[in-house]
Symmetry: C2
Subunit: 160 residues, 2 copies
């Protein structure tokens, strides 16, 4: 199975996050019938809650929809390697597969900084459209928005 | 400062969790003026959400009350060492101090299984009323409830 089709959906969610001034990470949860059962992106700034990562929002969406019985059959497709908090959370809900784009060099909990205990029971595939995920992060950390005017125009606006 | 007074409050919350059939862990958040700003216990079974640990419930309580500006000055008093997910979350919100009772041998994220990156910036004190916290966990894992009839009576009930 190719995961690119699904990762593109997560990337679109990450772009929405970027436009909203959030760290651009997008995530979808897929059940065993290949149905998307939850979508989410970072909402840390909007909620003023440092824990509202894309994966956390997806978990809460599923619970609020009364679908927590699906936890153990889930495939998680997320643009950036889950941080230690989220990786530990995904172990805790018992998801079966994690597909991610680029590595999370500072907080990655799927092996980059630390491999959360229990992840051995979980299939992991990394590097799916990684460059696109990383490009979005770079845009955010440079304070640039792909939909904003180019830098010259931005400077002009700044002067005003 | 002695933390026992506060830990007793967290232990009471853990007892409430036990009575509700939850893993008995209780937690309080205290601000810099020694005011308790959030209380919580595990609600995993009630919510059917494996991530609803005592600490997570306290974070959400604070956010819902519009008090996330207090995150960086918080002291967290919790009966059991935060798991990796919760320890990473507490690092993420930037709390200043973590006080816990007994160690978490399976999932402890404050050093027992893993020390989450960033905890070096956080004061940690462990072992406060640890035995009482552990006793509650033992009661839970033995399937016993301190308020239930003794084992002979329980067997009798079971036969009926």
């Amino acid at each position: 199975m190719t995961w690119e089709k699904y990762m593109k959906i997560s990337l679109d969610l990450a772009k929405e996050a970027l436009q909203a001034g959030e760290v651009p990470v997008g995530c979808i949860f897929i059940d065993k019938d290949d149905k998307i059962v939850a979508t989410g992106c970072n909402t840390v700034n909007e909620t003023k809650n440092a824990t509202r990562h894309a994966e956390v929002n997806c978990v809460d969406k599923l619970v609020n929809d009364g679908l927590s019985n699906k936890f153990s059959e889930l495939t998680v497709v997320v643009t950036v390697e889950p941080c230690i908090m989220c990786a530990a959370m995904l172990v805790k809900i018992g998801c079966s597969t994690i597909i991610y784009g680029c590595a999370n060099d500072r907080f990655g909990g799927c092996g980059t900084v630390f491999e959360c205990p229990g992840l051995l029971n979980c299939k992991i595939q990394k590097g799916i459209l990684a460059e696109q995920a990383m490009d979005l992060l770079k845009l955010f950390y440079k304070g640039q928005n792909p939909n904003a005017p180019d830098s010259k125009v931005k400077k002009k606006i700044k002067k005003c």
